[in-house]
Amino acid sequence: MKMVSAIIKHFKLDEVRDALNKIGVQGMTAIDVKGFGRQKGHMEVYRGVEYEVKFLPKVKVEVAVSDYKLDEVLSSIQSSAKTGEIGDGKIFVYGLEDVVRIRTGEHGEDAL
């Protein structure tokens, strides 16, 4: 199993969720994060002094998937989250050694 963790723009969250739903992914977890990357932060001014807020608000979406689904999920996220501009984000893929469904105690693929 793999854990897919995508850093995307806030306003793309609904689209990504719908895209994932469409290919049969039923669970995911979203987290508010702040990103720092090629996209430069925005300038703010406070009481006459300008300063750069370097971390930009992003959402991280985590989806656990079976190995065979990985490619489909990756391209689904990539196409639904894309605007073509800098700051679109990144997807990270981790190996997942086990999954447990708390309610039932099931392990592995069954728990997904």
Binding site: F11, Q39, P57
Partner: protein
């Protein structure tokens, strides 16, 4: 719900004849004295009105964000329900004119006195009929608000609204008539200037009975230990207390019922000295006991001083006001902790502030100031007792009836999830949820 609407509509339709129209309210040369006093009494009315925002802010601040919409909703409804029931029958229950001293009723609606087709301005030297009604009506609604804080975070919305309507529409006016309406306790010499007992203790008893009948919030007392449930916004709570202090200028100052310069200004000074002393008293007590000075206690201390001085605000000198306030400030801290130990869960401290200090203030009239004396103290004690027993009983009956018919407490699931979602389907701070578009997010 639809049935409820229909009944309400019916009831109001029937009552309209009782609401006499004021089509020709053109006045004929009001006296200057009346005009001045009436301006003052109107200002006092505005100040009492703003206490409702004070209560709303304080209660919202001292409870959790998942119940904030519910609190704000209740506190918006209370003045509405209060004013309408008071207009419909409460005012005439409280001030029935000459009556048997226990229960009287001057009829539905507000049949204003006229002379030559216009409003009779000889009604009172200090205010017109309309000002009288509005000032008293704003007062009435505060009693229900006091209960609201103590039962917060677990009471069902419609149960609370029904309770409030009965409490503010019937219980408060009838009990009020015994003293302010010229009833039997008034005849006996019981003194309560602006309502340490009539408003605050009455509200406080309602709060106590309500809190006991509902039981504690889930998670407050676990394995015999007290687990604090901090409120969600100290700025809101502080705004609330400052607005309440502001409102008290009208609550006490308006209770002079005229613009008498000496008496009103003395009242304002005693009120402020007691509030200031309440803050100091609570600070010293909490700093001594807890090692750290607790803002929420100091805020309660300010209110404690205000409630304490209310019964005798026109009877005290500066020294007396100072001591009444200082003691009230200490009392409130100690009683918050005691009530907590008794496992009565009162999220905002309504019982310590309004009940405990309401009693203290009423008795203080017999201890300090112009009326001090054993005999007066005895009468004050009697009044405290009478109001205590009758209010507690009345509240018990109403809450029991509501419980039997509609239920009192929300489900455990709703309590965990928060009443905002359960009762209203709305969050207080929706942007804190993860909503696309809500966050300010750079592209």
């Amino acid at each position: 719900m639809i049935r409820f609407t229909a009944i309400l509509t019916l009831i109001f339709t029937l009552s309209v004849p009782f609401m006499v129209f004021a089509e020709e309210a053109a006045p004929a040369g009001p006296s200057l004295g009346l005009t001045i006093s009436n301006v003052w009494m109107m200002v006092a009315t505005f100040l009492v009105f703003i206490m409702h925002l004070g209560f709303a802010s304080l209660e919202a601040g001292l409870t959790r964000s998942k119940n904030t919409v519910n609190i704000l909703f209740k506190n918006t409804l209370i003045p509405a329900i209060g004013l309408l029931t008071y207009a419909w029958f409460g005012f005439n229950l409280m001030y029935p004119g000459t009556f048997n001293g226990i229960l009287g009723f001057a009829g539905f609606g507000l049949p204003f006195p006229t002379v030559g087709g216009a409003l009779d301005l000889s009604y009172n030297e200090g205010y017109t009929y309309w000002t009288d009604f509005l000032f008293q009506g704003m007062f009435a609604a505060t009693a229900a608000t006091i209960v609201s804080g103590a039962v917060a975070e677990r009471i069902k919305l419609n149960s609370f609204l029904v309770f409030s309507a009965v409490f503010v529409g019937l219980v408060y006016p009838i009990l009020g008539s015994w003293k302010w309406g010229g009833g039997w306790l008034d005849s006996m010499g019981f003194y309560d200037f602006a309502g340490s007992t009539l408003v605050h203790s009455v509200g406080g008893w309602g709060a106590l009975i309500g809190a006991i009948m509902l039981g504690a919030r889930k998670g407050k007392y676990v394995d015999g230990k007290i687990k604090p449930i901090p409120g969600h916004s100290m700025p809101l709570a502080t705004i609330g207390v400052f607005l309440l202090w502001l409102g008290w200028f009208g609550f006490n100052g308006g209770s002079v019922l005229s613009a008498d310069p000496a008496l009103v200004s003395l009242t304002l000074v005693t009120t402020c000295i007691a509030a200031a002393a309440g803050i100091i008293g609570a600070m010293l007590t909490t700093w001594t006991i807890s090692k750290k000075p607790d803002l929420s206690m100091v805020l309660n201390g300010c209110l404690a001083g205000l409630v304490g001085i209310t019964a005798g605000a026109d009877q005290m000198g500066l020294g007396s006001s100072f001591w009444i306030g200082l003691i009230a400030g200490g009392l409130v801290v100690v009683s918050v902790m005691m009530i907590d130990k008794m496992k009565v869960d009162d999220p905002v401290g309504a019982v310590p502030v309004h009940l405990v200090c309401g009693i203290w203030g009423t008795l203080a009239v017999g201890i300090f100031g112009a009326m001090a004396g054993m005999k007066q103290f005895g009468i004050q004690l009697l009044g405290v007792g009478v109001y205590g027993i009758t209010t507690a009983l009345a509240t018990l009956i109403i809450f029991s009836m509501v419980k039997a018919t509609m239920g009192l407490r929300v489900s455990e699931e709703e309590e965990v999830e928060g009443l905002d979602l359960g009762e209203h389907g709305l969050e207080a701070y929706p942007d804190l949820a993860l909503q696309p578009g809500a966050k300010s997010s750079a592209l």
